[in-house]
């Protein structure tokens, strides 16, 4: 099953909307509660990253009885050093973003901790693609 959501850069009021929708879907599909929790936490962080760091993005969700695949594709500045970005506490978030309670530099590390598989590619000046996989069996 496929679902698609658009994410608007800079609009923190709606940040988390897509992840909430994904959560509702997984609940209806009777996915294991622990897997729902891990998926939603990861998806929320990735969604917020688009809002906080990119200009706009799209979330593609693909669910089969075996896997949940969520792909975050954004147009934005890209990540020059992915290894660095993955480090706990590393953040380029502006003070304005921090004031809103985001930007502790724990997003990407938490995503990695919660998902079964994570793949991130980025092109500076163009954008970032983050793919998350959860195995259901």
């Amino acid at each position: 099953m496929h679902f698609t959501y658009n994410v608007e850069g800079g609009n923190f009021t709606r940040a988390g909307y897509a992840s909430s929708e994904i959560k509702k879907i997984l609940k209806q599909l009777n996915v294991d509660l622990a897997i729902i929790k891990r998926t939603v936490v990861a998806s929320y962080e990735a969604e917020v990253n688009i809002v906080a760091h990119a200009y706009s993005g799209t979330i593609f969700v693909d669910i089969t009885p075996e896997t949940i695949l969520i792909k975050f594709v954004d147009e934005g500045p890209g990540i020059p050093d992915i290894a660095m970005a993955m480090k706990e506490g590393f953040s380029t978030a502006t003070s304005k973003v921090r004031e809103m309670g985001f930007g502790a530099g724990m997003g990407l590390p938490n995503i990695r901790k919660n998902v079964d598989n994570m793949n991130i590619t980025s092109e500076v000046g163009k954008g970032t693609v983050l793919e998350l996989t959860m195995y259901l069996q």
Partner: protein, 462 residues
Amino acid sequence: MAEKYFHHALKFRREVCIGCSHCMNVCPTQAIRIHSGKAELTDNRCVDCGKCYMACPVGAIIVEQDDFSQIFMYRHRIALIPGVLLGQFPGKVTNMQIYSVLLDMGFTEVEEVEKGTGILRMAMDSYLQENHHLKPLISSFCPAIVRLIQVRFPSLTENIMLLKAPLDVTATYIRKKYAEMGVDPKEVGIYYITPCAAKIAAVKSPVGDKFSQIDGVINMDVIFNKVYTAMKQGFAGKNQCSLPVSAPLKPFQQLWTLTEGEASLFPGRSLAIDEISNVIEFLEKLENEETCDINFLELRACDQSCAGGILASGNRFFTVERLRKTAIETAAKEDTKVVEASNDILNHTQHLLQNMAVSKVLPRAMDKLDEDMKMAMLKMQMVREIMKTLPYVDCGLCGAPTCRALAQDIVQGKAKITNCIFIQKKYEQKNWLNPQETMDILKQVWGDDKFTDPDNTKFVTL
């Protein structure tokens, strides 16, 4: 899914129901549908919040209570009263007068529910410290909230504090006290005067506890009426009662059941949220977050917490104001004079702390379309297809609260797409249905009465 998880204190009286759907539209868990002109409840979705009870214009929803005369089966008859009962009446009514009315009714002793909160507070304090990894910890105080979390936010059940509610702590104390006096436990009857339906349901089928310490419940509005009547008669002969004077509750105990009553007591960040839609909104958000630096959540289903309980007759804002005022007065007195009266409950601190735990609260997820994921996916696909044809108006004329709820009912085999009046119109245009057939469908949902002609005087006589 047919297994019944919960006992419900709210009963729908079919013979009184006029099928107006007011209840369906306010239910936060979408537990109500209209069929044959009557409201029908899906038991496992209902959390006993009482919103439907408040919305029903004809009193078709009632709150069950135990037969009062039952109390006389016991030699010792204890009325366990919540603080909000004392806040129902204007300042000139004294606690003594309220107690007298209860004794006149046949009770032999009156205890305040919040008596056990001093010891509960200690237990909560250590629980919060010991279970830091599970934060935010959610208070188990409001049974409607516990059930809401079970059915709608199952992944948060592990955050619920596994401690007794004040009611059960105090009841445990009373039982211990009588046991020590050498009284046969069978001769002790504890009756709880309840401000809401959720607490009744919790007494009748406790979540996370095997059995309840309470023998029966009496709705607070019944007592309110008795006291009010006595007040109007000037409390003739009801100005003294022979109750032993026990230590007055501390201000924090007097305020426990109000909003902020618990949240204000614990170190670290705490949040108090009242009214069930506010709670739902907050929990939706909480579920998305990996970490949360809030230690403690006090969540209550009613606006103004128990002061706004559905069986509270007095205005909830006045109740809050009165209780806060009393607490301030008590605080002032505490400073000036030493309380002489006995505070017996403290002698049982160890026993109560040892019996404070309740067992695990289990998730009871109700959102799933099917147990089997493949089947659930198929059904979800069908819901999506159906949603493309429905108007998103959520008019409720199909007998379901929203278009999406109808779509889900359809895939579960509980409703037909032709229940939607927009679809009916479209089908009529295509000659797939004739006017008689659409009328029959409407009658299946709303009953025949609503379509009979003007000499029907039902509404006028209501």
